[in-house]
Amino acid sequence: MNENPYERASPASPPSTPQPASRELLPFEFRGNGGEYFRIWIVNLLLTIITLGIYSAWAKVRRLRYFYGNTFVDGQSFEYHGQPLAILKGRLIVVAGYVVFIIASNRFPIFSSLLALVLVIFGVPWIIMRSRKFQMRMTSYRNLRFNFHGEFGGALAAFIGYYLLAVITLGIMFPSWIRKRVQYSLDNAAYGNQQFSFLTGNGVYYKFCFITFFLGIAVYGGLFVVLKTLFNVDSLATDIDVMANAGIVGWVLICAFIVALLGVAGYYQASAANAAFGGVQVGSQYVRSNLRAWPLIGIYVSNLFAIVFTLGLYYPWAMVRQVRYQLENTAIDSDGNLEAFTASSGVGIDAVGEEVGDFFDVDFGI
């Protein structure tokens, strides 16, 4: 790794506090490997199938513990504490709700459509809030839990309110919506009793969203112009050789178009991840994120092809590759005080564990 690959790419405004000379970059690392995860994955699959899906909750816990537990920063790893029964409960609620809804929608179609709309508007933010709480509270680092203080109102405003604003303004406020969602998830998070701050401003979001938009227009516009030219040429061609040539040109064109579109998608993905994670401040620690479009797209595309051509067997290696790339291009810009965080309640983790043990302590995520 070169001197400081994170500095240049960080979209966050620079920390306002004067930086002592002792700051250092602590990169995340992933210590798992595809072969090891393959064995965990396939055993999970088998047990899930022969238990008719019941084991999937246990499988999820093992999967997340493998990925969290192999994620290291400053020599220490993360831990996932989710309990299979809480996950199973969440899934049963979702399945039961689905079945009830299907039956209801056959009996009372109009009422059910209205109900579905209300459920989407109010249910989705609620589920997101509950899931964030579960995810954060079930994660620890150095035996200190993360936490999430987000409320329902905030989720409703961020996920639904800003969405409506984006629609009303014909998409002009779309970047604000994206940013609000990230802000809700990150601003409300905490490590121990230290609340996160989300520093990335609207400017960054508007910039990469509009660049994405114009790149997309340029790609489609370019294709249109080239096609129009080619179409005219092609329509004049009656000779079979010319047609064949046009065919090859056509293929080259299609490939170039796909590559260009993927490049745009990669630019967006990388920019969004950098804007989100790179904007996190936890006390005197700053997260730096330096994903780049082409390596990211290279990983997505090669993973997809490898999974399809191995009939799914490559899946565990694909997951590991993707996670490794993301983690190894993320780091903590630290003042060396990673040991100075304190627990929220001043007591051990057990108290937090009990506090979240209520009925709705369920995980709705996949």
């Binding site: 199938i49 790893s77 689905y98 051990g348």
Partner: protein, 376 residues
């Protein structure tokens, strides 16, 4: 036994270089922390091993000892005779021959599950569900068809009454919770056909009545449709699609990129199930005919004639069609067609219509086959 690691007290993120000892007196001690830590073996919790991730040994006060020396922890557990956790799962997960075996088993179990398991479970579940459910599945279908396809029947009222009476005589003794009812429509471009809605409504086109040479032929077609209703095929189809979607979801649910590829699976099986249901309905019809002293040949005759009336464009050579594609069994399999109708030996052509709507999400709500036409 002494194990090296770090101790975190749970109050701050500060950790201390520490050693953990499983004492001979049944106590577990940590050396190196700011204060001496000790607890009886029964009160500590050792995290389950997954791969080679950091092992955590939790103490009652909230402190945790973390170590990368998984093997030493496992040895200590074993020598102390500790139970619990799931060492068996880790044992399975850490061996390549188990992984290969599991892989083969996943493939075989998936195939068996799709081929036998899903239909059996769906059949059982349908048996448990009340007949009212059937009514809700295809509600509104006839209204839609009346708007887009059918016209009112042109059959004389007396003829309709005559056939309806025979239909009532047939369905009354069944007493299976369904409200059977016969409806007549002018088929138009649909031509001679009959189909059943899950609720028990059987629709027959005027063209079919005209095509039939005797009432026994008509009644044999109606018996086939009643077989669909009585067998609750629409509900079972719905349940099977849900089962297959669940399997696909369990296998690759978190790979969003390939969910599009996966959504084709229930569609392929849809056709196979549908043919199984046709055979079941055929069997019901023939049995009913036998029991009521009507010649089974009536069913064969009308089926072959129907096939003729539809199958002008049939390919003669699609016998080698992959068995999973067409929605009806071939007529040659279903009926003994009389020799004077040589055309009738042709296969049906259906695979094109079996393309399922490709959805972005997992196709749990795959449209059920609310109608089960006798012929396509």
């Amino acid at each position: 036994m002494v194990i090296a690691g770090r101790y975190f007290d749970g109050r701050t993120s500060a950790g201390a270089e520490a050693r953990l000892e499983f004492g001979a007196d049944g106590n577990v001690r940590v050396y190196g922390a700011a204060e001496p830590i000790a607890a009886p073996l029964a009160e500590i919790k050792i995290s389950e091993r997954v791969g080679n991730i950091t092992r955590r040994i939790s103490f009652p006060g909230g402190g945790v000892f973390e170590t990368h020396d998984n093997d030493a922890v496992d040895q200590a557990r074993e020598s102390l005779g500790m139970r619990g956790g799931s060492p068996l799962v880790h044992w399975l997960e850490s061996r390549w021959h188990v992984a290969v075996g599991a892989m083969v088993a996943v493939v075989l179990v998936s195939i068996a599950f799709v081929h036998w398991g899903v239909p059996a479970v769906a059949n059982w579940a349908a048996g448990v569900m009340p007949a009212e459910i059937d009514r809700s599945i295809g509600a509104g279908t006839l209204d839609v068809l009346d708007r887009v396809a059918f016209e009112p029947s042109e059959l004389p009222k007396e003829r309709q009454k005559q056939l309806s009476d025979r239909f009532v005589t047939m369905t009354k003794p069944l007493d299976d919770g369904h409200e059977y009812q016969l409806e007549f429509r002018h088929g138009g471009h649909i031509g001679a056909n009959a189909f059943a809605l899950p609720s028990g409504i059987v629709v027959m086109t005027d063209e079919l009545v005209e095509l039939a040479k005797s009432d026994d032929e008509i009644i044999s077609v109606l018996a086939h449709e009643v077989g669909h209703v009585r067998g609750r095929h629409a509900l079972r189809q719905l349940l099977q699609a849900a089962g297959i979607s669940s399997l696909a979801f369990a296998l690759f649910g978190d790979v969003s990129a390939i969910s599009g590829v996966l959504s084709a699976a229930p569609a392929l099986l849809h056709a196979k199930n549908s043919r199984d249901f046709e055979r079941e309905a055929d069997a019901f019809a023939k049995q009913w005919l036998r029991e009521n002293g009507i010649a089974e040949s009536n069913f064969d005759t009308i089926l072959c004639r129907l096939d003729d009336s539809h199958g002008d464009a049939d390919d003669k050579d699609d016998k080698d069609d992959f068995d999973y594609f067409s929605s009806h069994p071939s007529t040659t399999e279903r009926a003994q067609c009389p020799k004077e109708e040589p055309e009738a030996a042709t296969e049906e052509e259906t695979p094109v219509e079996e393309e399922a709507p490709v959805e972005e999400e997992m196709p749990v709500e795959q449209e059920p086959p609310v109608d089960t036409p006798l012929q396509e």
